[in-house]
Amino acid sequence: MTNYSHIEYWQRFIQGDQEAFRSLYDLYVNALFSYAIRYCADEEIVKDSIHDLFVDLHRYRSRLNLHVNVKAYLFGSLRRKVVESKRKSIDRSISAENYRFRLGLDTEDYITLSDDKENEVLTKLRAEMEKLPYRQKEALYLRFTCEMSYEQVAQIMDISIASCRTLIYRAIKDLRLRMENNKISQLLFIAFLPVRESNDQPITSRSMLI
């Protein structure tokens, strides 16, 4: 895995290599930013937290462990920093809009397919996903969007691997049930509108191919 070279950067950084420190920043800053901005709407807080994270790494590097999972370590440390400064900002100003974890962001637009029916399903699914508890969403994001192992997700969220698996399991099960309920109501709707049903036929078969 690519992680091998990442751990090399990490170890060279701990031994005092300034270039390796820069490489770690370049390698991870976007992933860290993408993750933390889902935690906290305030971009400045996120940037400050990343700043503090790297400054601390540098300051205390002699105490750092040479053998860590770099990605999980950085994500986990940043998570704590963001939560910390979010709390502080709540103390100071009520205005800072804070969300605990969001999968979709307002600034992102989704790839839309030519297939309207499929788009509708995906939009519905996205909306249902966003309604999940925030820890479930975070687990989904780390596991599938960031393609991390259960071990890594557990380390970041500071929970056991078993509870991690449970979070994912519950999230998916919940999604399935919500979508099934949704489908039943849709079928009823279609049954009362036989004209639309024939129109929908070719589209449905096309969506099967995707």
Binding site: Y25, V29, S34, H51, R59, L125, Y141, I172
Partner: protein, 372 residues
Amino acid sequence: MERKVEDILSGDSPREDLDKEAAADVRKLGDRILNILQSTKSLRLSSEAHVTLWTRIEETTKNARRRNRQIKILRYSAVACAFIALSFFFWNRQDPDISYNSLLYNAMNNQNLITEEQEVSMRHGDGQNVRISDGQEVIDLSLDQKYENARKKTSTFNTLTVPYGKRIEVILPDNSKVWLNAGSQLTFPTIFDAAERRVYLEGEGYFDVESDVKRPFYVHTANLEVKVLGTTFNISSYKDDPFASTVLLSGEIELQGAGETLFEPQILKPGTAAVLRKDSKHLSISNETVEDHISWRQKQLILKNTPLAEITTRLERVYNTDITVESTSGSNETFSGRLDLTQPLTSLLTTLYNPVEYQLQQEERRITIKKK
């Protein structure tokens, strides 16, 4: 039995298993879920922001290095002076700033999220997290010290987390006792320095410090710093409280501001309480409310013209329950008296909110109070 989509996606190789063994409709939903999550775009910093942020990091680390070098030079000259003066004063002294900074760093970094914790737990310096079983009321670390000391000289930091609804007593390596109230965290070294003892507290603790004139004991919090030689006192510094306070029961303590709070160091006398309002940074010292501050140890809450909002915040912590009041009319009301914290929460709330006027709704760890 057919595997459902949640069985497959929570497995170790969801993609492969979906393709291999899922029924058509299961695969379809599974694919959709995976596609949405995997096509969630990774947000990138603009190249400008990327460079700006790096420059900031580089500047800060460079400044820190320069400062370190200056400190080193100063320290060397101090040592030289000490030699010349044949004084041993500077000789074995640890730089207090450095030990304080590493304590603070560890306190910030070792923190678990109190709200996510269910059990009392201790995070060790090496990242290991130990959960303390439910029935245990005392954690005794004074015994560890003896063989720990002999085995290794390097000290790391432990952070003890007490979630809402729990409390615990801990005996520190120097035999000092601390009772930690619900929703608190205490960070302390596995071995105290020869010259001083420093701990960092977030939340509330009742300290019974082992007397050691040669090793002052410091309690650091976000707004206050307490220096003691050997006394009994209570200190409360919750993030979500508008105040921080210290109450001295015996001995003598020196109180200082920390962080953004600055005031002249104050010496507290036994039986007095110092309360800092966080917004005005105003410190008031009185000897009236001592008992109220420490009543939590007797599982009581003493109220003296205490605003209703403050009472509910305290009850939320003790009972680990969200209390939502959907009415603003009574929030300025104050109460005096004694609440028995061994009683169920709902019965306490009915004393505060007259059931004739208010309606209580409980749903797991959430209570909503509505005006009828």
